[in-house]
């Protein structure tokens, strides 16, 4: 039933004038994908830089709140660009993602990554030495940073894998 609904949705989306326009001009999809990947580069690097700082692998001489304030706020506007280009890519080729379980895995991982980033940003702005109070906090911080790195990498892997698992 849900599957039928989804494939109806795909059919409807593919028949819209916007979808036609995206499909007909051959340069639109690669261009959208390029903007999408460049935005992924910005969001991913920002998150990883802060995670590596939590592990004290980069910018050790700069306090964590400074590093977080420098890189994390960039994530949100760029995430909006990702939402826009991603949506247009779905409108152009709805079956490629909406009927593809890898796409839903990517979205689930994205939800986790967003929650982690929001949590990190909030905890640091509520108290600057939140992740540095004692050994337990430091270890919790390193755990969160590791999960964040793994989840972001998972998002990128899933993104690439969508191309290999799409419905025929």
């Amino acid at each position: 039933m849900t599957d039928l609904g989804l494939s109806e949705l795909c059919k409807w989306l593919a028949a819209t004038p916007l979808s036609h326009a995206i499909q007909t001009a051959g340069w639109i999809i690669p261009t959208l994908q390029t903007i999408h990947i460049l935005s992924v580069a910005v969001v991913f690097s920002s998150a990883i830089l802060v995670d590596l700082r939590i592990w004290r692998l980069l910018e050790r001489d700069v306090p964590l709140p400074d590093v977080a304030r420098r890189f994390l706020p960039t994530i949100w506007p760029v995430l909006f660009i990702l939402l826009m280009t991603g949506s247009l890519l779905i409108v152009g080729e709805p079956r490629r993602s909406l009927l593809n379980s890898t796409f839903y895995l990517k979205m689930a991982l994205l939800a986790v990554a967003i929650m982690l980033t929001v949590g990190l940003q909030r905890s640091i702005s509520s108290s600057p030495n939140f992740w540095d109070k004692d050994r337990g906090r430091r270890m919790a911080g390193q755990f969160a940073a590791t999960v964040s790195i793994l989840v972001w990498c998972g998002i990128l892997f899933a993104g690439r894998w969508i191309a290999y698992t799409q419905a025929g």
Binding site: G26, I29, P30, T31, Q33, T34, I37, L38, V40, A41, V42, F44, S45, S46, I48, L49, L52, L58, E59, V62, R70, C153, L156, F157, G159, R160, W161, A163, Y164
Partner: protein, 169 residues
């Protein structure tokens, strides 16, 4: 003569068991490709941090050398992974890649990025201590930053276009 040697050199890798595995295995190619994407994203994202500083658009309260020294280890390690994974993808279909204009353009552009960086370090950054703490930097320095962004954006675009213009399997 040179052409033939190059051809032999390339087929040596392309005919290797490793290249054959990457070509034929259903998981290996996408896996290496994903590692390549992760590495490229880190390279582009972290170089952008430096470029935006050179342009005076971000991190303006830190000196240029502080921004670069903080992030350079990440840039170089990610670049090494990108080159290694890219080479593996390349040898799996070397002849086809070399015949693809976007692939050739991508390699040329990466060389341009390297040249731009070498010129920046060798010439524009010679008197770095004099201006590196200022928000607005000398014109050649800003040009180096702007050119770097343009080149890396083009590298990513070419990379994506290879996938649309070359049938791997």
């Amino acid at each position: 003569m040179m052409q033939q040697q190059l051809q032999e050199f390339i087929s040596y890798f392309e005919d290797s068991g490793l290249a054959d595995n990457i070509r034929e295995n259903d998981v290996l190619f996408p896996l290496i490709e994903s590692v390549h994407v992760v590495a490229i994203c880190l390279v582009v994202g972290s170089i952008l941090v430096v470029d935006l500083r050179l342009l005076g658009l971000a991190s303006i309260h830190r000196s240029v050398s502080r921004v670069t020294s903080g992030i350079l280890p990440l840039i170089w390690s990610a670049f090494a992974v990108a080159v290694a994974s890219g080479s593996l993808l390349f040898i799996s279909n070397a002849t086809k890649y070399l015949g693809n204009g976007y692939f050739v353009a991508k390699i040329v552009l990466i060389c341009v990025a390297g040249l731009n960086m070498a010129i920046f370090h060798g010439i524009s950054a010679r008197d770095l201590p004099r201006w590196e703490k200022e928000a607005a930097l000398p014109l050649p320095v800003r040009l180096a930053g702007g050119l770097s962004i343009l080149v890396w954006v083009s590298v990513v675009a070419c990379g994506r276009w290879i996938g649309f213009t070359m049938q791997v399997r």
